[in-house]
């Protein structure tokens, strides 16, 4: 019996759809997490990183 027979019997194409749904779910979760209120301060600080990279820094 070849590998392809075994895999063929496993009917894997269902998994492609399953994986797609999982991916979408993970994506939505990340999206909610990013846009949840209350982290603005941190993001503002991070977004300035390219601008204040020329000077000595304090520990962070």
């Amino acid at each position: 019996m070849r590998l392809s027979d075994i895999m063929g019997a496993a009917n894997l194409s269902v998994y492609a759809e399953l994986a797609m749904i999982l991916f979408l779910a993970a994506f939505v979760v990340i999206m909610i997490a990013i846009f949840a209120p209350g982290r603005k301060h941190t993001y503002d600080a991070a977004s300035r990183m390219p601008l204040d990279d020329e000077h000595p820094q304090t520990p962070r």
Binding site: L12, S13, Y15
Partner: protein, 721 residues
């Protein structure tokens, strides 16, 4: 608090090296593009066997993608990474190895591609020894990069670096899997996969090469250099994070849209279409994010040519990421696929997005790296306008060429017959537009040349020794705390939405990279495994047999000459295609096609049913000079095929390699040269008897003719059995 500050300096020398490499290879790549653009309307410009369209086209794509855009990515990445991490690259030696290794690979490509040494997979043409070199250099780069990450002095990893990390990991994966092959000599190999599987692997690679070589690295550059040049932070940092994750999650699934209406299973191409359409949203999010970074700075755009370059770059990104999803919709794709439309789409992205972002970045970097004023701002402006008009001319002409040809292919007259049954009619119509493209390309190159001159003059004004500023920054404290984050009250959900976990990931580059890699790998596996292993996806056809040794040698010539750059071998199940070419292509037909040669652009007609269509002598004459047979043909002439001799001895190696990857060669495993000779003599005698040239029995044209008489034959035989 800052009792203990580390003192160090950044390695800008490596950035200067990559900057020059970018500009020089850019010019070379554009020039080769111009040459092949001239070869289409003027086939006489195929000056020598080494310089024909089929061999130069891969050189052009490789040069602009891997040499120009690649070096541009490295330039920006080495500059911004060190600064964003507050750390010098871990190993100067590895940085140098990366630089020289990469340039050596480019030189190797520039030598081997005109010689016709190719794997014939788009953007993965380079043969196996060079592939191994690429892997080694890339790993050196990655090691240097990741160790630098662990030595950083900033807790938070800025979003640009996420884009770089994803690119570095994914490109490694793509490169390795798509290039798995069995060598059949020092510079010849056959893809491990065949037919549908090979096509799937190739476009999983090809699409993601666009994503992770031309998109994500450049988005990283955008998120660093746009704020720099505009002197304000990115419009929304959250949007940029969202942009990142959506690209990582969605892009990897979209590859099959390159294979609509082919012998690919339906579910796979529908999946590809869905994900491509979903990509539109985050891409536009990214574009808006880039443009709004200039909020309140629009007055600067009118004065600062660097910002102008960036604005056009981001706009071009928006245009091509809008068009991409549109093209992946099956009905639009049916019209656009195989035509110049795709070429126009690509060049909006390449000339506009990659080119302009690179130029903007380089003009921003030059005064800082060479530590002097830019030689001339007026010349930058001139470069900008020349290149902008160049792009406009190029894309307008080539979009119309694409639409024109696509519509002509599908036009039926009142009697229900094809309106333009003669393929060459649909080609001649494009010639004026091809000349407009030549003008557009010339403008673009003139701009780039002026850019090089400007940079050279700037460099000439550099100080005798570069100042190397000492930077001070505190090392990261061992404990993984987040001082900026306000304390979070509440339960699990609140903690979750406050993204403690995400902050942690970001703080742990290794873990973060692993997560990215896992996401990419899982998506790829689920997409690819079914096509590879489910038998029902590729129903076998009993009458499909392996190529004879002589045909295999002919197929090698077909690959060497890059005929697949102009000819597809994949007839889609659409009336106007089956009407023109014959029965549509089935997956089972290509089970021995290592690699697949379906092609992606029809500058000439499809050849999937070429076998038996014309007499042998027709091919001999046509290959010698296509214009003797088809008056207005734009196909290059291949007279050297009538004088080059077949290396019969080497055919055994080809057959053995094929047999090794599972092609049932039977007898031929032992006596391939003898079988090839016998078939060649027979064919040459037939050609001579028909009034053709004498003494072709050991000439390459015979092998090629044998091969050209094969496609589609097996199916016809099935009908008669």
């Amino acid at each position: 608090m800052n009792a203990r500050l580390d003192s160090f300096s950044y390695d800008d020398d490596i950035v200067r090296k990559f900057l020059w490499a970018t500009m020089i290879w850019g010019l070379v790549g554009f020039l080769i593009g111009l040459i092949i653009a001239i070869q289409l309307p003027w086939p006489g410009f195929n000056l020598a066997p080494y310089l024909t369209f089929g061999r130069l086209r891969p050189l052009h794509t490789n040069a602009v993608i891997f040499a120009f855009a690649g070096n541009a990515f490295f330039t920006g990445a080495y500059y911004s990474t060190q600064r964003l991490l507050k750390a010098r690259m871990w190993s100067d030696a590895l940085s140098r190895f990366h630089f020289w290794g990469w340039q050596a690979i480019i030189v190797a490509a520039a030598v081997t591609l005109p010689l016709g040494l190719t794997q014939s997979k788009e953007y993965a043409e380079l043969e196996w020894p060079i592939d191994i070199a690429i892997a080694v250099v890339w790993v050196a780069f990655a090691v240097n990069y990741f160790v630098t990450l662990t030595k950083r002095r900033e807790r938070h990893i800025y979003v640009a670096i996420w884009f770089y990390i994803a690119s570095i990991i994914t490109v490694a994966l793509l490169h390795i899997f798509n290039n798995l092959s069995v060598p059949a000599g020092a510079f010849k190999s056959y893809s491990l996969y065949a037919g549908v599987q090979d096509a799937f692997m190739q476009w999983w690679y090809g699409h993601n090469a666009v994503a992770f070589f031309l998109t994500t690295p450049f988005l990283g550059l955008m998120y660093y250099f746009m704020p720099k040049a505009a002197d304000r932070p990115v419009f929304s940092y959250r949007l940029s994070i969202l942009h990142f994750w959506s690209l990582v999650f969605l892009y990897i699934w979209a590859g099959p849209h390159h294979l609509h209406y082919t012998a690919l299973p339906d579910w796979a191409s529908t999946l590809g279409m869905l994900f491509s359409v979903m990509l539109w949203m985050p891409s536009w999010g990214g574009m808006v994010n880039g443009l709004l970074t200039l909020r309140g700075a629009w007055h600067k755009v009118t004065e600062d040519p660097i910002l102008k370059f960036f604005v056009v770059a981001v706009t071009a990104y928006g245009m091509s990421t809008f068009e991409g999803p549109m093209l992946s919709i099956k009905s639009v794709n049916a019209l656009a696929h195989y035509t110049d439309w795709i070429i126009a789409h690509v060049h909006t992205g390449a000339l506009g997005w990659n080119g302009f972002l690179t130029f903007g970045m380089i003009y921003w970097l030059a005064p800082r790296l060479f530590q002097t004023e830019l030689y001339s701002k007026n010349l930058v402006n001139l470069h900008f306008w020349l290149a902008t008009f160049g792009i406009l001319l190029y894309v307008v002409a080539i979009y119309s060429a694409g639409a024109t040809q696509g519509l002509m292919w599908r036009a039926f007259d009142e009697t229900g017959r094809l309106q333009y049954p003669d393929f060459v009619e649909t080609v001649i119509r494009l010639i004026p537009m091809y000349w407009v493209r030549v003008v557009g390309g010339t403008l673009y190159i003139t701009g780039a040349t002026i850019g090089c001159y400007n940079l050279f003059k700037t460099w000439a004004k550099r100080p005798a020794t570069y100042e190397v500023p000492v930077v001070q920054a505190a090392p990261l404290s061992a404990k993984d705390t987040d001082e900026h984050a306000p304390a979070v009250a509440g339960g699990l959900l609140a903690r979750f939405t406050h993204m403690g976990w995400h902050r942690k990931w970001e703080g742990m580059p290794l873990f973060f990279s692993v997560m990215t890699a896992v996401a990419v790998i899982i998506a790829s596996l689920f997409e690819i495994i079914p096509t590879f292993l489910i038998k029902s996806n590729v129903p076998t056809i009993a009458s499909v047999k392996p190529y004879t040794p002589l045909e295999l040698a002919g197929r090698n010539i077909y690959q060497r000459e890059g005929c697949f750059n102009c000819h597809s071998q994949m007839i889609r199940p659409l009336t106007y295609e089956t009407e023109r070419y014959g029965d549509y292509s089935k997956p089972g037909e290509s089970v021995y096609e290592h690699p697949f040669l379906w092609g992606s652009r029809r500058i000439g007609p499809d050849l999937a049913r070429e076998g038996g269509k014309f007499p042998d002598l027709w091919h001999v004459r046509h290959m010698y000079n296509p214009r003797e047979v088809t008056q207005k043909s734009i196909m290059p002439a291949y007279p050297h095929l009538q004088s080059n001799t077949i290396d019969f001895g080497s055919i055994q190696k080809l057959v053995d390699a094929m047999a090794m990857i599972g092609v049932p060669y039977g007898d031929a495993v032992n006596k391939a040269p003898a079988m090839a000779k016998a078939q060649a003599e027979q064919l040459a005698a037939a050609i001579e008897a028909a009034g053709g040239p004498k003494g072709l029995a050991d000439k390459e044209i015979v092998a090629l003719t044998a091969y050209l008489q094969r496609p589609g034959r097996d199916l016809k035989n099935a009908g008669t059995q």
